[in-house]
Every structure is written in C-alpha cells, then in structure tokens.
C-alpha cells in the first residue's frame, strides 16, 4: 500500500472507492446506488466550479469565521520545557468546533441538487447542531438522528437543534448511541433520497461522504499553512501535528495540506477509555479487525460474530467503533502514527492547558491530543514545533468535567 505524492488524499482511492485497494468503498444497499452516484457526479463538478468555491469561501469566512487563530502556547511550552507548543484554535469557529465546515458544504450541495430536505446523524450533538444551524440559514428542512441515550445526555444540544427548527429523532435501536443514529439515518435516506440529501457527520460512510467531509475540513490546514509561513518564514524542519481521532474528520482536515511533507510527523490520538477498562474507542491503536460498517471497510471494534461492540469514552465526540478509511490508509502506509489517551489523561490535559493558557480551554476531544503533546514535549528539543488542533471548546463539556473533578454545577 503506497501513498502518492501530488494527489489529494481524498482522491487516492481506486475506481471502487477503496483507499489502498482495501479501505472505504460503497458497501450499500442497491437502493442507495443511484443517489450516491448522483452525489458523486455533482460533487466532482462542484469542487471544480469557481462560483461554488467562492460561495463556500464566503460562508466559511463570514459565517464560520475563517481563519481561526494559530497561536503559540507560551506558558505551556515553558511549563513542559521542551518542544515549542502551538495550537490551531479551531474551537473559535462558529458553534465551537470544526463541524460547521462539513455542515455548510453539505447544505450548499443540497441546494445545488435542488433538494429542500437535509438529514444527518449526531453523537454528542455537535454535528447535528451545526447542520441545523446551516439548514436554518439555507432554508432547508432538517432532520437529525440521535441515539436515545445521547438525546438524554446532551439535552442542551437537543434544545439548540430544535430551536433552529430541526426535527430531532431519538433512535431507540441497539446501544442507542451514535452507531445506531448513523444506521437509522442511512435507512431514512434509503427511503427519502428522491427528495432529501444526507449529510454524514464525519469522514466515515460510503466513499463520497468521506471525500466531502475531508474536503470541507481541509480548510483548517489551508489556513494554517499560511499562518505557519507567517510565523516561521518557512516550514519548520521538525514539526509534529497532533490531532484527536474519533471518526477522523478534524484530523483529516488538519493534516490535508501537509501529507506530502515527509519531515512533518502526523500523530492521531484515539480515545483509550477509562484506565483499566477493556472498552475503548481506539480501533487503530489496538489493531481491531477489519470489517464493514455504515457502507465502508475499515478497522472496527467488533466481536467474533461481526457484531459492533459498545465503546466507552468520556468524550462523546470520539465514541465511535469504526474510523475513517482515510486514517486506516494513513496508518497502513505508515504516514501517520496512532496512539491513544485514557479518560484520565484527557482530563489532566484539560486542566493543565486551561490553567496555563486561559484563552485555550480544549473540550474533551482535543484534550486527548493535548495529552499526547504533554507526554512527548518534555523529551524534545526547542527546535521541534508541536501543533495541536484544539478542535473543540470545553464549554460543552463543563458539566462532565466538573462532575469528574468533584464540583457540583
């Protein structure tokens, strides 16, 4: 399996949609073949359409708030005493995370397809919240599928989605979490695809959804490349880009422009779950078996019967049993390195970063990435630059973190 230079990562799949001839694909029911072909055709046209790109950039700039800041974490660097630590503060994007990019692009595509209805899945509620926001802005009817357990746990986000006019559908099947919400959303689209468009909330699902999502979040590294040049005048010789990986959408976007730079190390951090627990959401780190989930071949946490196993992570956004085919491919080619951080390490990282930096207070997802930075930075020289993608703000997790630390809110 080999990575090609000069070709965007999202285009390095074969004619059947497999990266490295193995990951991804369109393992879908025959009734989804037509809408997926239609979407694939339309997206290939749109990504080369200057008007569409201008429209995307307009909304990214004026609604999502591009570019997000690129800053040095002076205090944390001093505290750890090793590599210089920088941060791409994606949490400053509208809505407090990177999910807005994909939501805006899908809404624009939906309009171009002449469809008036959009549906999507959500776990922690962020993908759903951003999609509802975008749908309201673009006058689209919106339906969000969410596991019944998550509806209960993330009631504030459910309230927001409903405020934006979205219909939130609690999914009662299986574990009643994200994995079931995605299944139900795909079932809904199977029935409604003549009138409706589907947005998959991460770089997962059939090939075209992986591509659209990574194409959207690539905004993160496009901005950052310029910011890195402004800061250093050149691409630093020794640079490490650390990102958390659940489905893998923010990491795909954060790394996109840097894939061809061999001297830049890409590190993905998965959710290791509670310390000592065998339940985790780290299929890449733990070499989970390869399987088919939601239409694509990938590493999947599953039992010997092919049944998807429940995952456990303090971070709802990383709590997914599969992982993007893009990351399976980057792992297999050796281009990216994957590791995991436990719930406890993430909480400690959150505390250390918040205390030292104030303006940067990562949500539990990027706290996993910070945990790895904190682990390796002291051992590295001052010439090494570590950049962490702080892709979410802690405000959404305040209750969970406070409870964990013994505060009552």
């Amino acid at each position: 399996m080999k990575l090609e230079k000069g070709i965007p990562l999202i285009d390095q799949h074969d004619e059947n949609g497999y990266w490295g001839g193995k990951f991804g694909g369109n393992q879908i029911a025959e009734s989804l073949n037509y809408p997926i072909e239609e979407l694939t055709r339309e997206f290939e046209k749109l990504r080369n359409d200057k008007t569409f790109i201008a429209e995307r950039d307009f909304y990214f700039k004026n609604f999502v708030g591009a570019p997000t800041p690129f800053i040095k974490l002076e205090n944390l660097t001093k505290h750890l005493g090793g590599a210089q630590i920088y941060c791409k503060l994606v949490s400053k994007a509208t809505g407090g995370a990177h999910k807005a990019y994909n939501a805006v692009v899908h809404s624009l595509i939906c309009k171009r397809l002449g469809k008036t209805y959009i549906g999507g899945d959500t776990g922690a509620g962020y993908a759903g919240k951003m999609l509802s926001m975008a749908a309201a802005k673009f006058n689209l009817k919106c339906k969000i599928f969410m596991g019944a357990k998550d509806v209960e746990r993330q009631s504030i986000n459910v309230f927001s989605m409903r405020s934006y006019g979205a219909e939130v559908v609690p999914v009662n099947s299986g574990s009643q979490t994200l994995v079931d919400a995605v299944s139900e959303c795909m079932r809904w689209w199977t029935s409604e695809n003549e009138e409706a468009h589907m947005c998959v909330g991460s770089t997962v699902g059939p090939t075209i959804f992986v591509k659209i999502c990574a194409w959207s979040t690539a905004q993160i590294s496009r901005e950052m490349k310029k910011q890195v040049m402004d800061e250093f005048g050149e691409v630093p010789k020794d640079m490490k880009l650390i990102n958390c990986v659940g489905g893998g959408s923010s990491a795909a976007g954060f790394w996109n422009e840097w894939i061809d730079y061999d001297n830049i190390e890409l590190i993905g951090v998965e959710a290791g779950g509670p310390e000592g627990s065998s339940k985790h959401a780290a299929p890449l780190t733990n070499d989970s078996p390869i399987g088919v989930l939601h239409g694509a071949t990938q590493y999947v946490i599953q039992d010997d019967q092919g049944e998807i196993e429940e995952t456990d992570s303090i971070s709802a956004g990383l709590d997914y049993p599969g992982v993007s085919p893009l990351h399976c491919f980057l792992k297999e080619t050796g281009r990216a390195r994957y590791t995991s951080a436990s719930d406890e390490e993430a909480i400690e990282a959150f505390q250390l970063v918040s205390k030292n930096e104030g303006f940067v207070s990562p949500s539990l997802e990027p706290s996993h990435a910070f945990a790895e930075a904190i682990k390796i930075a002291p051992k590295l020289s001052k010439d090494t630059v570590i950049v962490v993608d702080s892709c979410g703000d802690s405000a959404k997790d305040s209750k969970i973190i406070a409870e964990r630390l013994g505060y009552k809110i």
Partner: protein, 268 residues
C-alpha cells in the same frame, strides 16, 4: 445440485399457476428452538422458500419490525453457528429451500470460505447480502457458484437500464427486485402495476432468470403478484412473532396461520 432445487421450487409454484411464496423471519428469534419450530410451521403452511435472516445489529436496510426481531435474537446470544444449526436441523425433515439473508460484515467475520462450507453442509440454497452490491460482490458470487449456492443479486427501481443489464448478465439463476425505495416493512408507496411493469422489464431482458419481488407486500396486496415469479412477506411475520411473544401465544402457530392465509390469497 442445490441450486436446481431452488429453481424447482419456482417451477412447482408455476405449475400451480401462482407465484412462489417466500417468507422472511430472523433466524434465532426469539430463541433457537422456537425459531426452528417457526420454520417447520412455515413449511407446513405451504411456503415455497424460507428466507432466514442472519441478523446484524448495525444493519442499514431493515425496518422496525425486523430490527426488533434481530435485536431479540442477538440479545438472546444467537451466533452465526446457531443459525446454521437451525437450518441443518430443519433440512433433516423438510425439503423446503432455505436462503440466508444477511449483511457483509457477518460473512467477513465468519470468513468467506468457512461461511460457504457451512452453507453447503447445512443445505442452504442461496444467499442474499443486502450491503454487498454488484460489482463488488462478483468474487464472492463466483465462490458461491462453485459451491452450488445461488448468490442472489439485488435490483431496485433506480437501477438504471445499463446497470440492470450488466447485473442481470452476471446474475445467477435468481434475482431479487426491491419493489420500492425504502427499508423493509414500510407501506407500499408504489402501485402493484408499477412494480409489475419493472418485473416485466427484468423478465424481458432475462426471461430465464427467476425474479423475487420483495418489500412492502402484505396480505392485502399479495394477490396482485400472483402472475409473477415469487414474492416475499417478512415484516408482517416478524411483527406477528413480536405480538405472539407479547401476548404469550405460540409464535410458530400464529406465523403458520398467517402463512396459510397468504398462500391462500396468492392462490385464489
């Protein structure tokens, strides 16, 4: 050969001047023993071919009623080997053909070769795999053929003409037409006439292939499909199993009664 027995089931129905009746229930729902009894009762009530679901929790094609059945089977600890045992036991006493309907990850997790070996030893006649579309399924379909198992290709209303021809060209002797764009068990949202029009188109391209019509067929509409090759009723039977369990009745008897009624409506 196993495959020719499947074709014979269609031909026997044709001699009766009706379509073949296929039933779908989830193997192992609600448990191994009851599931076997349900199959026996279905066979005795006159179904021509039994579709046995090898359920998958993260399925993307099943409607609510079948999901409930799948959930009951899986949470009862049913494993793939149990499904093969149920079929093997059933085939000891009954000639009725059994085909397995499942999802790709179940076959992958079991191992393609092992899965086919088990299909052969438990006398499975055919396989339908919902999320393994043409042409990605061609290698596996070939392996099925080598084991005299019919791999049943799926077609649907939005399969365009070129694709339809290509799929039919590669298909084994039986195909499955998904009558409408939906998951299983939803209300029929296209007319029976429209479905038959598509059926006739398929038959015009491939007169020798038997075409099963599925999705949305109930006791109310089944007679409309009398002149076709075969039709499937699934969700209504799964719902009947759920009702029987809830009301502490015998699911095998009740499902059997329902199948008799369907058979009669299909024959009248």
């Amino acid at each position: 050969m196993t495959s020719s027995t499947l074709i014979k089931s269609f031909e026997r129905a044709k001699e009766d001047n009706r379509a073949a009746l296929l039933t779908y229930t989830v193997g192992g729902d609600p448990d191994k023993k009851t599931s076997l009894n349900i199959f026996k009762s279905i066979a005795e009530s006159g179904a021509d071919i039994i579709e046995c679901g090898l359920g998958h929790g993260a399925n993307i094609g099943d409607g609510g009623a079948i999901q409930d059945s799948t959930y009951r089977a899986l949470s009862g600890g049913i494993k793939t080997d149990d499904i093969f045992e149920i079929i093997e036991d059933f085939k000891k006493d009954y000639e009725t053909d059994v085909i397995i309907m499942t999802y790709q990850n179940k076959i992958m997790a079991y191992g393609e070769e092992d899965f086919l070996e088990k299909c052969v030893s438990s006398k499975v006649s055919g396989i339908i795999c919902v999320d393994w579309p043409w042409p990605l399924n061609l290698d596996f379909a070939k392996k099925c053929k080598e084991n005299s198992i019919v791999f049943i290709q799926l077609l649907c209303p939005t399969t365009n003409q070129d694709r339809l021809k290509s799929i039919l060209n590669d298909a084994h002797e039986v195909v499955y037409y998904i009558s409408m764009l939906s998951t299983t068990g939803q209300k029929l949202k296209v007319s029976s006439d429209e479905i038959k029009k598509r059926f006739n188109l398929i038959k015009k391209i491939s007169p020798d292939k038997k075409c099963i019509i599925g999705f949305g067929i109930t006791a109310d509409t089944i007679n409309d499909f009398k002149d076709t090759d075969a039709c499937v009723v699934g969700s209504a039977l799964c719902r009947e199993i759920t009702r029987s369990i809830d009301e502490e009745l015998n699911p095998a008897t009740n499902v059997g009664n329902m199948v008799s009624d369907l058979k009669q409506k299909l024959s009248s």
